[in-house]
Amino acid sequence: MSGFPILSLMLLVPLAAALACLFLDARSARMLALVATLVNLALGVVLWLSFDIGGAQWQFTERVELFSGFSWALGIDGIALLLIELSVFLMPICIGASWNSIEKRVGEYMAAFLLVETLMIGVFAAQDIFLFYMFFEAGLIPMYLIIGIWGGADRIYASYKFFLYTLLGSVLMLVAMLWMVHTAGTTDVPTLMAYDFDPKVQTWLWLAFFASFAVKMPMWPVHTWLPAAHVQAPTAGSVILAGVLLKMGGYGFIRFSLPMFPEASAYFAPLIWGLSMAAVVITSLIALVQHDMKKLIAYSSVAHMAIVTIGLFAFNVQGLEGSMMVMLSHGLVSGALFLCVGIIYDRLHTREIDRYGGLAINMPRYGLFFLLFTMASIGLPGTSGFVGEFLSLGGIYQVSTWAALICTTGIILGAAYMLYLYRRVVFGEQKNADAAAMPDLDAREYLMVVPLALAVLWMGIYPESFIAPMRADIAALEARIARAAPAGDSKVVVGAATSKEQPAHEAAAHEGAH
């Protein structure tokens, strides 16, 4: 808790490297980008280690009145901390994934990625509502360029769709923000989180924010930009898109929609449930019939994000913690799955599922890691996916048994499409000679998948390390929205409390986190 502006530094390092990359040749740009992202990862580790669990809600706060109308205010709570950690963890892997596959305009590519990193950290760390908006919107520019320049065949259409969809959502949010700041008289996010807006107006404000976050999330039926963008984006673009950019929608719901408009959130909760239920079933079924591996994983992302929204709008601690865990787990797992697709795409330059088959024979180690991430995506106990999905669905069960029932089918459907994908790619006969001749993982690819695999197992086996930093913040959020929580239909009877074990548990968590 020293006055050292570590968050500003974490924003500055990739930004400075991005500017430098514009002037460097391909080789040095790659090196510089890797070094910069590793430095940020190191700073992220320092940030986590010095984060005081159970301390003040907002830590590492910085505030400089640099501008008129808004200020340079940064600060994080446990929720933001975890999402920042996810971002800095995935970035070096993204740079590694594009090490050989990006050959044209490497300097600009690395610059765009470093810029994305800056903006993502900025989104999670901003404590001024307009500063948040700027980071939130600015991410469009580098992502537009990444998809449009380095994407595949249909990249132009995908980039337009991505940009205009998300922009339309966001401008409505900005109008709502202007009104909120006018009414509450402050741009400070923590103050706004505690401000009680008139419930009648909340409805409109909630809808404006929903327009933005639902597109970013993405929720059914405004998800159609995602498969288009994913399929065309380069591997690293997909990793960062699925890994972190999608989390901005969920983060928005947690940080803005729920605490600022509790009444409106409760009023619209059935809408969210309905959309989430539809999303889980519909997008899972769509995923089942895909021939393109990336499209399949993209649709599975939409289904997973629906589990996030359903947990968020369960209005209880279990649901909220579950949503956060699903977001973190999905960040790792879908990132890893896109990476796995990228690894074989680099060898064969096709994403057609039928072009592969029997990879277990010539790429056994690859098959092992792919299996782990497939299982994590399904939500097998012991992997990260299980913890979040179980908590989310447990949370929603207390409020709406029907929603829980229908969303749980997503797990079964998820198992269906993931196992079907795995069977067609890794098992079976080696139908294609070129696919059969592909070499197994090399050292660079090990360096990318092993950390992801370890993180997935860690989160699955000992989730307490990840839940501990956000426990107090989730509890505070739950207390804030409790007054509006809808009555449940499941009549859950709470058994004997396990509160006696709690301190011992937390102490263990403390050790585990370090």
């Binding site: 109308g69 600015a138 520019i141 337009y160 205009l164 409505l172 009104w179």
Partner: protein, 487 residues
């Protein structure tokens, strides 16, 4: 109020008039050979005039002390703010001109003189405290502008632009004058305070008609819908440095004038004209955005972009609050920087033979042949589209903040939604220069002045610009206070 003080207050106008006349004599004797010297002297005169008006803005001059010639002319902080923008953009369009005209062997000595007289007229427009002053300033600017549009005499497009501008401009001036005469007839005075006093108790139908006609005439000058039809043709036909000039200084002058007339003379009857301005603003935003989509000439695209941007600026006027006026002034400064940068970038688009490239598809792959220029152009496009963290966003932000705080939330939501349509065609330019396969047309070397001006405006519209928000916001607030308290 004695004459000596009046004469002291119009020092910038005196400087420019005398400089203009002397330069005219040099031009008469020196001929076109002296054009470079005349350009340099003209820029010096404009910079000197800027230095003379700056103190009034810094000290926040307002009230009776700034009123010259019995209230006909005002040298307050508001006028000073607008004049600084006008003079600086006039100077910039002089600096970028020689490289362009020399290509066509058309660098004539009259060009800097005409720009000086146009700037003088615009200075008088924003200082007007009386309808007569307003009209004199407007005509002085317009006459110089008609000639400038037709300046490239060998080019048919330029002559056409000049003629179109003249015919339609004369019509608009007539409409404006008709409006002024109606106002005079129904209020019995031409001075702004007098009009304000006459209508403060209520607006007669005749005076209302006068307001409508005045608005129509001024809407032509700022190229707001539905009086925007001339803009794409004139912007395309006029020589590019002249287009740069048209897109910057006259916009500031006409919008400044519009603010003076609407908020001073008719400020007490805002409800009567708010609806009209509201319609004009939204129509300009939408038409500017939709019209630009099909364009293949980048100058025409910028013309529609300026219509679109004027719509956003007018949102601030439609709110009719001091905050709205301040936001307009801020937006104007950002808009001038974006337009200057945009047109300078267009001037830098030359093929291997040094011919100017205006065709948008020919820009394909510019990011590979001229990466720095492509980056600059892309920044300007994103900034015009109002995407944060570029500075163009802050202009839109302030205008819509004023709209929200003035209880016009629907207007703000509609305006923002329409800005998404606008984003589409800005993105198209970025797409062509970054995503498309290179056609390798733009290769020519650029003038050092063009590079410097492009660099300057790009730094201004980059996120670094936000560091200026406090300072610039303070200036626009001062200027607005001066405007509101002028009566």
């Amino acid at each position: 109020m004695d004459w000596s003080q009046s004469l002291r207050l119009i020092a910038p106008e005196e400087t420019l008039s005398i400089a203009g006349l002397i330069l005219l004599l040099i031009a008469a004797w020196g001929g076109d050979k002296a054009s470079r010297l005349i350009s340099i002297l003209a820029v010096a005169a404009l910079v000197a005039a800027t230095a003379i008006v700056a103190p009034a803005l810094c000290s926040g001059a307002m009230g009776p002390d700034t009123s010259a010639f019995f209230g006909q002319f005002r040298a307050d902080a508001f006028a000073s703010y607008a004049k600084i923008l006008i003079y600086l953009s006039a100077a910039a369009s002089l600096v970028i001109a020689p490289a362009f005209f020399e290509r066509f062997n058309a660098m004539r000595a009259e060009y800097p003189v005409l720009v000086i007289f146009a700037a003088l007229g615009m200075g008088i427009m924003v200082s007007a405290g009386d309808m007569i002053t307003l009209y004199i300033g407007l005509e002085m600017n317009s006459l110089a502008a008609y000639v400038l549009a037709a300046f490239l005499r060998t080019d048919g497009r330029s002559a056409e632009a000049g003629l179109k501008y003249f015919v339609l401009g004369a019509l608009a001036s007539g409409i404006l004058l008709f409006g002024i005469s109606l106002i005079y007839g129904f209020t019995g005075t031409t001075s702004f305070p007098g009009i304000d006093a006459a209508i403060s108790s209520g607006l007669s139908h005749g005076a209302l008609f006068g307001i409508v006609f005045m608005l129509a005439g001024l809407a032509f000058k700022i190229s707001a819908v539905p009086f925007h039809m001339w803009t794409p043709d004139v912007y395309e036909g006029a020589p590019t440095p002249v287009t740069t000039f048209f897109a910057t200084a006259p916009k500031v002058a006409a919008l400044g004038l519009l603010m003076r007339v609407m908020l001073d003379a008719f400020g007490s009857q805002a409800a009567a004209w708010q609806q009209i301005v509201l319609f004009v603003a939204l129509a300009s935003i939408v038409v500017g955005a939709l019209g630009a989509i099909g364009q293949t000439n980048i100058k025409r695209l910028m013309a529609y972009s300026s219509i679109n941007n004027v719509g956003f600026i007018l949102v601030g006027l439609a709110v009719a609050t001091p905050q709205g006026a301040s936001a307009m002034l801020f937006y104007l400064a950002v808009y001038v920087a974006m337009s200057l940068g945009g047109f300078t970038a267009i001037l830098m688009l030359k093929d291997a033979d040094g011919n100017y490239v205006e065709d948008i598809p020919s820009l394909a792959g510019l990011s590979r042949t001229r990466p720095a220029l492509a980056l600059g152009l892309a920044m300007i496009m994103f900034s015009l589209a109002g995407i944060p963290p570029l500075f163009g966003f802050w202009g839109k932000f302030l205008v819509f903040q004023a709209a929200v705080e003035g209880d016009m939330i629907v207007l703000a939501a509609l305006g923002f939604a329409a800005s998404v349509i606008g984003a589409f065609y800005y993105l198209k330019v970025v797409k062509i220069i970054y995503f498309d396969e290179s056609v390798d047309v733009v290769k020519g070397e650029s003038d050092i002045w063009h590079k410097l001006i492009l660099l300057g405006s790009c730094v201004f519209i980059s996120p670094l610009g936000f560091l200026l928000t406090k300072w610039l916001g303070g200036l626009t607030d001062t200027a607005t206070t001066a405007l509101i308290n002028a009566l």
